[in-house]
């Protein structure tokens, strides 16, 4: 978006004021600095901001939001820009607030609490906790880049999500700066607290359109005593999905329950050199717990897998386990090495419908004749069919577009959601509308608009996401 001359003059004045208040070295306006800030990992959406401000403190953020709100300048909070939906690109220009310089992490081992500034990566938080024998469970495949702020704003999840859920399950308290510059503290850094409805939840998954998260406090847990990995190789995805549903139904809660189809296995194998089966499907179940119980649990999981037609191996060798963990974590990344365009979908269905969803995805792949490597978190019914196509072939581009729609429709029909963890951004606004319509919940977007009007009356916060 290009500014008119008047607006441009007003903007320059605002930028001068911000520079004066927080220090000019934190403000970037050269196009050669701005263009690197115009993208995210969606590979499709771009938008060049008018300025980037690299904040060092909550006060810096507050100063920017005060000026920007007064001058009605859009503001986009940004972590590592690893989001896959275009949520972090400056769709309507404005100021990108780069939070990476704010990366302090403090662990309070006696309290089982960790404080992290918004720009610290999820992996760093976990690493700091591990120095104290603790762990921070959320582990998106992008954890070495995903920041606390970005992961909260996307409510990211990961491999350990089957048992330990997503970001919001660990959040205790937040510091958020609102448009106008007001600093808000919601929640308490204690394992329990209650003051009315939990407003931390308002900012989880908000994709940067309500305020800027500057700090967060999370609860953490001791590293599990033992983990055993049970791996099953199945003739097809549906039977692997059945095993997953069966495991969950038998009352066992694996730490992670990951599924990969043959196309994914082949791609990971090729890209990483890790030796994996080339046909069928793989289900990886990690069972954690106290030493005494673990082998009984692992056996029960193996039994579920065998019943569904799987060939099973067990391992607790750390190296072997790390290898497979890496294989799964590298799934999406490996595909990007093999195909020129990859679009990762992110649907979730009720656990009982999981096998059916996998079968229908398989059918869609055949019908559309495009490679559709599929993998995901079977433990929470979240699966990533990943559409691979040639971006220069118009027919393939069109087929990919329709396939994406149909995949979302499968989720909607089976009573699921069009996004499990990657969020809405620009990419999923249409699909979200269809989902809301199917549930008779079209009012939802209006409700969001009303909430936004209270907290962000001038609509400066990351406008354009969710179509807001």
């Amino acid at each position: 978006m290009v500014l008119s001359e008047d607006a441009s003059e007003a903007f320059s004045k605002a930028i001068r004021e911000i520079s004066r208040r927080i220090g000019g070295e934190k403000v970037l306006t050269d196009p050669e600095d701005l263009i690197p800030y115009s993208i995210d990992a969606s590979k499709r959406f771009e938008g060049v901001p008018w300025a980037v401000v690299r904040v060092n403190s909550t006060e810096d953020v507050s100063a920017v939001l005060q000026v920007a709100d007064r001058e009605r300048i859009p503001v986009i909070p940004r972590g590592s820009a690893s989001c896959l939906t275009g949520a972090v690109v400056a769709k309507r220009g404005g100021i990108v607030i780069d939070l990476l310089p704010m990366h302090r992490v403090e662990v309070y081992p006696e309290d089982l609490v960790v404080m992290a500034e918004a720009g610290a990566t999820v992996q760093r938080v976990d690493e700091e906790c591990r120095r104290h024998g603790l762990m921070f469970p959320p582990d998106p495949a992008s954890s070495k880049v995903a920041t606390v702020g970005g992961a909260l704003a996307e409510n990211a999840g990961g491999i350990r999500g089957a048992k330990y859920g997503v970001m919001k399950n660990w959040l205790l308290a937040l510091e958020v700066v609102l448009p106008g510059g007001r600093v808000l503290r919601v929640g308490e850094p204690t394992l329990k607290w209650r003051w009315g409805p939990d407003l931390t939840g308002l900012f989880v998954g908000s994709e940067g359109w309500l305020g800027v998260i500057t700090r967060a406090w999370f609860k953490v847990i001791p590293v599990p005593e033992r983990v055993v990995r049970v791996v099953g190789v199945f003739p097809d995805m549906e039977s692997a999905g059945r095993a997953a549903a069966d495991i969950r139904a038998s009352g066992i809660l694996p730490l992670g329950l990951e599924i990969m189809n043959a196309e994914t296995l082949r791609a990971v194998s090729r890209a990483t050199g890790i030796d994996l089966p080339r046909e069928g499907a793989m289900l990886i179940a990690d069972v954690d717990g106290p030493r005494e119980a673990i082998s009984r649990l692992a056996k029960a999981v193996a039994e579920c897998m065998r019943r569904a037609g799987g060939e099973v191996t067990l391992s607790d060798d750390p190296e072997e386990m790390e290898r497979l963990y890496l294989a799964r974590k590298m799934a999406y990344a490996s595909l990007t090495r093999l195909y020129r365009a990859v679009e990762i979908e992110d649907i979730t269905v009720p656990l009982s419908r999981f096998p059916e969803a996998l079968r229908r995805i398989d059918e869609l792949a055949k019908r559309y004749g495009l490679p559709l490597p599929t993998f995901g978190h079977a433990g929470d019914g979240n699966v990533h069919p990943t559409i691979c196509y040639d971006p220069d072939d118009e027919d393939q581009v069109e087929r990919a577009r329709r396939l994406a729609e149909e995949i979302c429709d499968v989720a909607i029909e089976l009573g699921g959601a069009v996004s499990g963890e990657h969020g809405i951004g620009i990419q999923k606004t249409g699909a979200l509308r269809r989902e809301l319509r199917a549930r008779g919940a079209e009012y939802y977007l209006d409700l969001l608009r009303e909430i936004k009007r209270v907290l962000d009356p001038n609509n400066i916060m990351n406008p354009g996401n969710f179509d807001l």
Binding site: S38, L100, A271
Partner: protein, 473 residues
């Protein structure tokens, strides 16, 4: 035509780079010191000047003491840029080399001594290489690193001629950057290139094992040492175990590892950065020096003259030494034992080449467009990026940001080539990004080609505008 380009290019590149290039043109080395100074280390050595195996000293070792002096000067109140502009003029008059020759002799003697020790070590291990003395050509690191690729490719062909005249089939060099050039960049730029190259560390480790040499104790050395892996040696050429083998062979020496080691080593701030972005280079050297010091060792060894230079100038209070010197001393009291067969992972593996589709604007554009289109923008390269680490993740000076800038440049977006060049020049070519990239992109090669393209586009723009439209100065 070609000469016209050279002169025009100096309008785009910063004065520091111009200084180094001028030196190369005048005296055959970046500081313009001339062949006499450069070959001084070899005085008195009785070795042939032709042969299949060549000991190659490289561009840095023979003159590193003079560079150390220059670096100290640039840290005086005189800014690098002013010194460089001044230096450019002095260089033209031949005064800078003359002044350096006089003032830097003392500092240079230890680098020269290391070269002699490197050769003597080989001789003791039964290897008698040829040396070219005053005839040894520069490998052109300055030209390639700063994106002056037309000049580099012409220079490289000249080097090949000279090596062929001397009957060289294999090069052994203590300078890992030279080895990388001969194993990767020469094959990329010289059609038919058929000379093999090996680092001194690799060859010595192989000989010590296969000759059954038992290294002796080295009393005058610290007993607790750490080792800094030069990125080109470890990450890019896979030489990780060999230096550790040599150190562990010396009785009584205890190796303590820094946090970042082997292929995950940390940058000590060279890669050409100390010339163009001294502030970033300084921060990197300081961070790495501190990390090495935190191992508790009194002495950090390494195997790269440029790393030695930056670490020694980092201000960190610790001894920084050359592995060559220690191995040389250990060999003096060595004994004979049983030959051993040792297999090192990745030893002498072939390196991946990124050949440009021509060096014209069109050739570079099409090479870069294809590569950049494969970037999925995940940013996995950024946390490992050396310069991003000391700049709090500043995107425009991180790996992904640079790839994004390059893509914007080849898409014809309205950018100032001089400013793009400035962002690309911050990169230290450490290769950490390439290792982290799930799409397997050769980011450092892209950055070199991006520099070359930015220089060329800048010249086009200047011509169009008549003046210095694309210039950052």
């Amino acid at each position: 035509m070609f000469l016209a380009f050279i002169d025009a290019a100096s309008a785009m590149i910063p004065p520091e780079v111009e200084l180094a290039r001028g030196g190369l043109a005048r005296g055959g080395d970046p500081l313009g010191l001339g062949p006499r100074v450069r070959s001084a280390w070899a005085e008195g050595l009785d070795l042939p000047s032709r042969g299949e195996l060549l000991f190659y000293a490289g561009d840095f070792y023979p003159v590193m003491g003079y560079a150390e002096l220059l670096l100290r000067l640039t840290r005086s109140p005189l800014s690098t840029r002013r010194l460089a502009s001044l230096g450019g003029a002095l260089m033209k008059l031949g005064l800078l080399p003359a002044a350096l020759r006089i003032a830097g002799r003392g500092a240079n003697s230890r680098y020269q001594a290391s070269l002699r020790k490197a050769v003597n070590t080989l001789i003791r291990l039964g290897v008698r290489p040829a040396i070219l003395r005053e005839e040894e050509p520069s490998f052109g690191a300055v030209l390639h690193t700063y994106g002056l690729l037309d000049e580099f490719s012409e220079h490289a062909r000249g080097v090949w001629e000279r090596l062929r005249e001397a009957g060289v089939r294999t090069i052994v060099t203590p300078d890992p950057v030279a080895a990388l050039f001969f194993r990767k960049h020469y094959p990329e730029f010289v059609d038919g290139w058929d000379v093999d190259a090996v680092t001194w560390v690799e060859l010595v480790a192989e000989r010590v094992a296969s000759e059954g040499v038992r290294l002796g104790p080295v009393s005058r050395w610290a007993m607790r040492v750490t080792y800094h892996d030069p990125c080109v040696q470890s990450r890019m050429m896979g030489v990780v175990e060999q230096p550790r083998f040599l150190i562990s062979e010396i009785p009584g020496v205890d190796l303590v590892e820094p946090t970042r080691r082997g292929v995950n080593t940390g940058c000590s701030g060279d890669g050409g950065l100390e010339l163009v972005q001294p502030e970033v280079a300084r921060r990197l050297a300081l961070a790495r020096g501190e990390e090495l010091k935190n191992t508790g060792a009194k002495l950090a060894l390494t195997s790269c003259p440029a790393c030695l230079l930056t670490l020694r100038s980092s201000g960190v209070e610790m001894f920084f030494g050359d592995l060559i010197d220690m191995v040389h001393d250990a060999l003096l009291s060595a004994k004979r034992g049983e030959p051993r067969e040792v297999a090192w992972a990745g030893a002498r593996r072939p390196l991946r080449l990124t050949k440009p589709r021509g060096l014209s604007v069109e050739g570079l554009t099409s090479t870069l467009a294809e590569l950049a289109s494969r970037c999925v923008r995940c940013g996995f390269c950024n946390p490992t990026c050396s310069t991003a680490q000391v700049l709090d993740g500043l995107e425009s000076r991180s790996a992904r940001g640079r790839v994004t800038l390059i893509r914007a440049m080849v898409e014809g977006r309205d950018l100032r080539p001089g400013e793009v060049l400035d962002r690309l020049y911050t990169c230290v070519l450490c290769g950490a990004c390439e290792m982290a990239c799930p799409a397997g992109l050769p980011v450092p090669d892209m950055i070199i080609y991006g520099r070359a393209l930015a220089i060329k586009l800048g010249l086009v723009k200047r011509e169009e505008l008549g003046v210095d439209g694309g210039d950052r100065r």
